[in-house]
Point group: C2
């Protein structure tokens, strides 16, 4: 958390940091605290358009974080903005639910094969927490299997780090290793007759390590394990959801969860999340009491409806994949030509680059900082995100700058 | 949860209920599920303006729920809408924090005497949960005192009802009785050296019972108890916050909490919450890891900034209090003239009416339903909310209809 301010930070950025330090603990908190990962990235952003964001000093960045996932169609996508403004003209936080909640739930059910119903929330943590509560209600059991190191939110039952977490918060978690089916079986054995749920991400996307695609046999094995034990299979699709496959990130594998947690890209940046589930869990869903003041507010739901409607037109996801492929190929070729051995992991739509042997992230941090200084916003050890606003020309512009960043790192 | 559909429900409402039942468990969930409190209130609302909301059949209601609290300036307040649209034109969910987060944190610190800093969240539950985590981080202790029956959110550590909650979720709670200082002392003794925090609402506003203002001696006693034990005093101002006193709901008593949880009215309906705290807790705030994808999204922060700026002009809170007083006096006179013995409890800004001896809420439910049919939206056993959009004429129009509702109930 030490403020090692690079001389590259602008005057407006530095002034804002000074003001923020006075009124926000540490100047910022959580995943957006830039001082946790860079001395060259700006903490503050004033605007965004398509795949570009602009900082307080007017510097423009080609954006490879997409608001850390939510922005799937590009910043200020006209169809989403229009839906937001249109709904604002009617109302947002009303006494009753807006009909747009029904329309959006219908569209989710129509889009996601494992979904017979939907409930709306605000955060990814709301979604994963609701899934666990629902699984416990359905089974009358308490234990929950989660992968070591998997991020399911920053609330006490699943927090990975930080002070203030007590033993009882996580007393019902039993850990397995991602992609290691035997470890999941051992964990299920340990939970025994008290196994309520198996929580799993569509891939291993733990911050600070290379990403790892799911082994299809592992996914199928978890489905079989849940079926055999009567546990609820919960897919935490908060981070990957809607970017890889509209029907759910394991739909291409043919493995369907009982419950899915959604958020991030569901409304192109407006605050929204959802839980979807199967008919078998409908009564359990009615038996829990979960709610929030803004959970069915109309404006984010209208944004969600507009976003999914746009995604269903079928052009966005192929564009995201094409942009990701072009970026990956370009980076691979650049690294080779500069003599760096790198790994690019995860699906192309959610890339991550690491330098082989760079255990403490020094090289990748220097490279990410060099990219930031050159106007590309990417993260050294958290996966990036592509959006439908990334054209081939944008990717080429990114690659020009990352090539310069490789040069800068190879010189230092 | 049985659907006893009143013949008063419109065709569009009934059609939406049918569709909702197919894709949302029970047709709706949480506090907004109208079937939990009425057979005459519409589940669906399509628009709002000032202190009026309109249902799917085009029926207009004078609104005494204000979106269940968030709407403090009135639906679609022009200054807030303008700030939202203006910020939408720049960006919402960016890679970095918007400078509006700093501006709003500065304004909160300037407005709330107990606040030296602020952190933003999305839900009331996010705010209360973050407060508890922070108190545990600050003290290295685990136990948390909460009042019996007090609502601090619907997440597992504090949920009051519903299936899926397991013993460990609430293993560190120790209960006291609201306004009973001796019971708080006993609870603190039970927690002993492991007492991390005392959580308290500004008044007793538990749904399903009459409201109870705080006894100033009780508030002062909790402050002294926290000081003596080294526990953190957490004021859950989620429901009352900004409506009673801009500086915090206990500011008129001169009792300042260490941490406050805010949400609901903070942004006139946009999804936002905040935690504010004292300098003594700044390091602990830096030591926890809490975050969410949308926690510093710019649009709700811009709405919050506009809302608090408007509230600080000084006209809104006196208007809310005046409207509440006029309503209370009118209802008292009506009840007397109809021969009903009623209690009106809580502050006038957050009213609740109950009929004496009406243990099962039958009379008040009939009265609330009669009011709904006549175009006044209020709740039989959850407190209502006034807004700055309620003029004297609006209150008089409400009173005309509630008078008819008393007549209807006295006839049946």
């Amino acid at each position: 958390m030490t403020t090692t301010q690079s001389p590259t930070l602008g005057a407006a950025e530095l002034a804002l940091r000074g003001r923020a330090n006075a009124v926000i603990p540490g100047g910022m908190y959580g995943h957006m605290n830039v001082q946790a990962f860079s001395s060259a990235h700006p903490q503050f952003m004033v605007s965004g358009a398509g795949c570009r964001v602009t900082d307080a000093d007017g510097r423009e960045y080609l954006d490879l974080m997409c608001g850390w996932g939510p922005v799937i169609l590009g910043h200020r996508h006209p169809a989403v903005t229009s839906a937001i403004v249109d709904q604002l003209g009617r109302g947002d936080c009303l006494d009753g639910t807006s009909p747009v909640a029904v329309e959006f739930a219908e569209l989710l059910v129509d889009t996601i094969p494992s979904a017979d119903w939907a409930m709306f929330v605000k955060n990814g943590s709301d979604a994963t927490t609701t899934c666990v509560t629902l699984a416990r209600a359905a089974t009358g059991r308490a234990k929950v299997l989660v992968a070591h190191g998997a991020y399911h939110g920053s609330v006490p039952w699943c927090a990975l780090r930080g002070a203030g977490i007590v033993a009882q918060d996580q007393a019902n978690l039993v850990h397995y290793e991602y992609n290691d089916l035997a470890s999941a079986h051992w964990a299920a054995d340990e939970a025994g007759a008290d196994l309520a749920a198996i929580v799993v991400c569509p891939m291993r996307h733990d911050a600070g390590r290379e990403q790892e695609l799911v082994d299809p046999e592992f996914a199928r094995g978890l489905r079989a394990l849940a079926d055999r034990t009567g546990a609820v299979l919960i897919l935490d699709d908060v981070r990957c959801g809607f970017r890889l496959d509209l029907g759910g990130s394991w739909e291409p594998l043919g493995v369907r969860p009982d419950l899915s947690a959604w958020s991030k890209a569901i409304a192109n940046g407006q605050a929204l999340g959802a839980v979807t589930g199967t008919d078998a869990l409908r009564d359990a869903a009615r038996s829990i009491f979960v709610t929030g003041s803004f959970w069915t507010a109309a404006v984010p739901l209208a944004a969600g409806l507009a976003t999914l409607t746009e995604l269903r037109k079928g052009e966005a996801l192929p564009r995201i994949a094409a942009a990701g492929t072009r970026l990956r190929e370009g980076l691979a070729s650049q690294a080779a030509s500069h003599g760096f051995e790198i790994h690019q992991t995860g699906p192309v739509q959610m890339p991550l680059l690491s330098f082989v042997g760079d255990i403490e992230f020094r090289t990748v941090t220097a490279w990410a900082e060099a990219a930031a200084v050159r106007g590309v916003y990417l993260h050294p050890w958290h996966n990036w995100f592509l959006s439908a606003a990334h054209t081939d020309d944008d990717i080429d512009a990114i690659l020009q700058r990352t090539d310069d960043a490789f040069t800068a790192v190879s010189r230092s």
